[in-house]
Amino acid sequence: MATGESTFAPAAGAAPLPRMIRAQAALETRMLLRHGEQLLLTVVIPTLLLVLFGGVDLVDLPGDGAGDSSRVDYLAPGVLALAVLSTAFTGQAISTGFERRYGVLKRLGVSPLPRWGLMTAKTLSVLAIEALQVVLLTSVAFALGWSPRGGAPAVLAVLLLLVAGTAAFSGLGLLMAGTLRAEATLAAANLVFILLLVGGGVVVPLDKFPDPVRGVLELLPISALSEGLREVLRHGAGMPWGELVLLAVWAVLGLTAAARFFRWD
């Protein structure tokens, strides 16, 4: 039997679930923060957009020359939406795609951490990165003279929009990561990021597009998120139910498809 000297004597068992999920979420967050290209997408690009377009008259934005609504009031909600897109969709798709490719998901699949625990940890880590992004981007926006509308109800509406957007983009990102090859995911996730940056009401107002195109673009999750945030933060609107419902539909579709088609190796 085991003695004090005996090093490998079996003492098998899973750690308590909260400890496993906390450890996994902390590791995932460290991996994302350590990844240079990810930070380019999640931090550098949104900040640059905010500073460049907010500070310099490069494109014709609503709010130009208007009395009470500055350029940054238009830009800040869109850039917050872009931050969610970059982390929950692009970043998560690429990192999960490569984790699948490098056998990380397979290896964790035989650890005591259940799959739903791994997914919970991934979500927590996405939310942690988003919190950092929101703090950074709102600080920059305030420095540029941002004056958002609304009080506590606006904060609640914004939080609900961010969570619904995160769910919608996570589902789509995981669907991509779990079905395509890692290289294809890398290319497609970046391409989608750029397309949605241009066509999702982030910097370019949707009313610049011709009507039929605009009708389609308005159904995209990024448009729902950026327009919803803009309604609340710029125009002081109440709870943006239309946008929330649209995001919830995307979330259900994306997460259901991801759960159905995700391949772990």
């Binding site: 490998f8 098998a12 899973a14 996994q24 056998g103 035989v110 005591p112």
Partner: protein, 307 residues
């Protein structure tokens, strides 16, 4: 004390896109022992391990790991088994010690991480990201990850493939220690010496079937009892050597420059071989009288063609 086998595989079949990887395999792993699963590339070793670890559905047959179904009861099994995959399994940006500490944190009573890192010679690269570790260091990290949770049963899929001799011996020592401490080990390998050195039981599998099994010394008994091996320059005329030998002897060049004489190996036969060498101007680099090795058994059973 260990009556119930740790792993029981009966009639296992697994096909990939019409190609049969495992074809009616039967295998039992005695608890607390090291079982070596030996076979050429493509014999079905990895597929078997992956089914036992709950990665894949068998197409037919019954698999019990620690008395449980590896898929249906995966949640109960996972904390009790350790798995070393052939490749990968680690975040490319994770540092070696960081990843090991993480796997330890998923277990209730893990081994202390630092001594394990030292033991496997990973101390100097604890802060190196996984993608910059050498192949051998990645292998040793994967081994450490398989044992850090203090499992009852460990699956090691070719744990020494590509290791240098020092690292191989460190791995062998660790496997011996696992056995001493009561851990059941399934070890796949295509190195005969490794299977012979470490295993209580060896199962030789080929084309997805078990073709022989037993303790290594039993497998090596039987058949050609004695043989005399020598090495010299390649291409010696074994036919002329055979003519000098008593009837019922054989003489073959196993690989270029490696010769084996079998038959009634006695002092007379040894003298015959050495005088034939003298007549032919051959100075053997080595000359040994030996019993069959596991390699002989393996090559006899699986054939010598490369595949």
């Amino acid at each position: 004390m260990h009556s119930e086998p740790a792993v029981k595989i009966a009639g296992l079949v697994k096909r990939y896109a019409g190609k049969t990887a495992v074809d009616g395999l039967d295998l039992r792993l005695a608890a607390g022992q090291v079982t070596g699963v030996l076979g050429p590339n493509g014999a079905g070793k990895t597929t078997t391990v992956e089914i036992c670890a709950g990665f894949r559905h068998p197409d037919a047959g019954d698999v019990r790991v620690l008395g449980r179904d590896p898929l249906a009861e995966a949640a109960a099994l996972r904390p009790r088994i350790g798995v070393m995959l052939q490749q990968g399994g680690v975040y490319p940006g994770a540092r070696a010690a960081e990843m090991l500490r993480h796997i330890a944190a998923l277990h209730a009573h893990p081994l202390p991480v630092e001594p394990l890192i030292e033991r496997l010679g990973l101390g100097s690269c604890g802060r190196t990201p996984y993608r910059r570790l050498s192949g051998g260091q990645q292998q040793r990290l994967a081994l450490a990850m398989a044992v850090v949770g203090r499992p009852e049963l460990v699956f090691l899929d070719e744990p020494t493939a590509g290791l240098d001799p020092q690292a191989r011996h460190a791995t062998w020592e660790l496997i011996r220690q696992l056995r001493t401490d009561g851990v059941t080990v399934l070890l796949t390998t295509h190195h005969m010496a490794e299977a012979e050195e470490l295993s209580d039981e060896v199962a030789i599998i080929d084309a997805g079937r078990r073709i022989a099994s037993g303790p290594p010394e039993e497998l090596c008994r039987g058949g050609a009892e004695n043989s005399l091996r020598f090495t010299g320059r390649p291409g010696l005329d074994v036919v002329s050597l055979l003519k000098a030998l008593p009837r019922q002897s054989t003489a073959v060049e196993l690989t270029p420059g490696a010769y084996r004489v079998t038959g009634d190996v006695d002092p007379q036969l040894l003298a015959t071989v050495t005088s034939w060498c003298a007549q032919n101007g051959v100075l053997p680099h080595s000359l040994t009288v030996e019993r069959r090795t596991l390699e002989d058994v393996f090559l006899e059973l699986t054939g010598k063609e490369l595949r």
